[in-house]
Amino acid sequence: MNNETLVCVPGQRLSIADKSHLSGRGTYERLGYIYATLAGVVKVVKQDKASLIEVRSSNEQSIVPAPGDIVTAKITLVKQRFCKCIIKCIGDTVLSRPYRGMLRKEDVRATEKDKVEMIKCFRPGDIILARVLPMTEVHSYQLSTAEDELGVVLADSEEGMSMVPVSWTEMQCPKTHIKELRKVAKVLPERLSTV
C-alpha cells in the first residue's frame, strides 16, 4: 500500500464540517466535525466547490438492499402471479447472508404488463438482475425487471447446459439448440466476458 492511503476507524475525527467539507458515505457529523463510522480507507471526492469526505470499508460492508439498488438474485420459485428469489449480491458486493426477494407479474416488463406469463419469463435456478422497489411488505423485498438491462442473465437449459441469449424473449441451449422462453436482460459486454 502506498503512503497516501489514510486508514481510519469508527469514531475517528476526519475533518472539520463546513461548506467545503461535506460528510459522505461512512461518516457522520457532530458538533462541527466529521467522524468515521466504518473501519476503512478515507476517500476525498472532489465536487465542484466542496470536497465530499467518504470512508470505504476495507472489506464488504454490512449492507442491506435499499430501494433503487441493482441486485443479483437467484429464482427459487415461480408461481402464476409472482416468483420468489434470493438476493445474492447488491451491486458488486457479495452478501454473506442472502435476503429474500419477490418479483410480481406486473413488475416483469415495462410494456404489455397484462400479457406477461411468469413461466415464459423465469425458471427456478435462473440468475437475474433486478432493481429493488420501495418496501411495502415487512418480510420480503419487492423487485422489478421492467428495464432493458434487467432480467435473466444466466440460465441453464433442461439439459443442464448454460444457455445463450438469442433474442429479447428467448435463450438457446448450445447442445440441443432448443429455444426456451425467458425475460432476457440486455447484458453489458464487460459483465459477459467474466461470467
Binding site: Q12, G40, S58, E60, R97
Partner: protein, 278 residues
Amino acid sequence: MPSDNRRIQGPEVSSPYCLFQSGNKNVDVHSGRSEVLSSRKDSRKFMEHRKIYLKTGVVSQAKGSAYVEFDNTKVICSVFDPREIPNRIEYSQHGELFCVFKFAPFSCLTRRAHQQDAQEKELSLCLKRALEPAVCRHEFPNFQVDIYVMVLENDGGSLAAAITCAGLALADAHVPMYDLVTAASLGVTGDKLLMDPVEEEESLCQNPNKENQNHGLITVALMGAHTQVTQMWQTGSMTAACVSDALTHLVQICEETYPIAQRCLVKSVVDTISKKAQ
C-alpha cells in the same frame, strides 16, 4: 433437573470436587480481605488494569469477530450480517442488536450448564444496552445484527471484556458505528477500590462485610472519541461519592484502553488492504 435428550447425560447428581477438599474447609470470605487491603495477589497496583490482548478476525465464518484476553479472562465474539427480524409484524425504524452472552461449561470454577441461565440472560441484556448507543441503527431498519459472545475462561471482568470484544467485532464486521466501545470494571470493598478485579476479588467485593461498608462492582462502557458513557452497571451498595470517584477512575482506564482497540482495528484494516493488493 429436566432431562436433556439432545445431549449425552452424566449421572443425575454430580458435584465439584473442590467442595470436599481436605484441610481449610469453609474458607471464610472475610479472611482474604485484610490481605487484599495491603496488596493484590498478582502484585498489581490498585488502579492498574491487567494486560490486554486484542485480536480481530478470529472466526473465518463470521462477518466480524474479535478475541479479548484480560490475562486469564478469555472472551471470543462474532458478529453476523444483518438479517430480517423474525416474527415481527410492524416495520421498525431502527435496526436491532441481538446479543447472546454465554459462559463455556468449563469457563468457571464450577461447571456451567449448557442452557443459558438467568445470569447469562442478564449479562446479554447489559451487553446489548452497552453497544446500542454506539451503532448507527438507523442504517439497517427492520433488521437485526446478531452478536454472540462466549466466555472461554472467566477470571473476573468478563462483562467488560465482552463489551470491548463485541465493540471490536462490530467494527470488524463493518457495521456502521458512531464510535468504538471499550469497557472496564472496578470492585469496591470498604474504602478500597480495585481496578479490574480478578474472580477472587470480585466475589470478595460482592459480599457485604460485617460493618456493612461500601461494597460492590461497577462496570462502565465508554465511547472514547466523545467520552460518552454508554452504560454503567453497578451492583452492591456504596455511597454516591464512592460511585462518582469510581466512575472517574473507570473512565480514565477506558480511555487508556481505547487506543489499544483502535490500533488493533487499524492493523486489521491494513492487513486486508495489503492482502488485496497482492
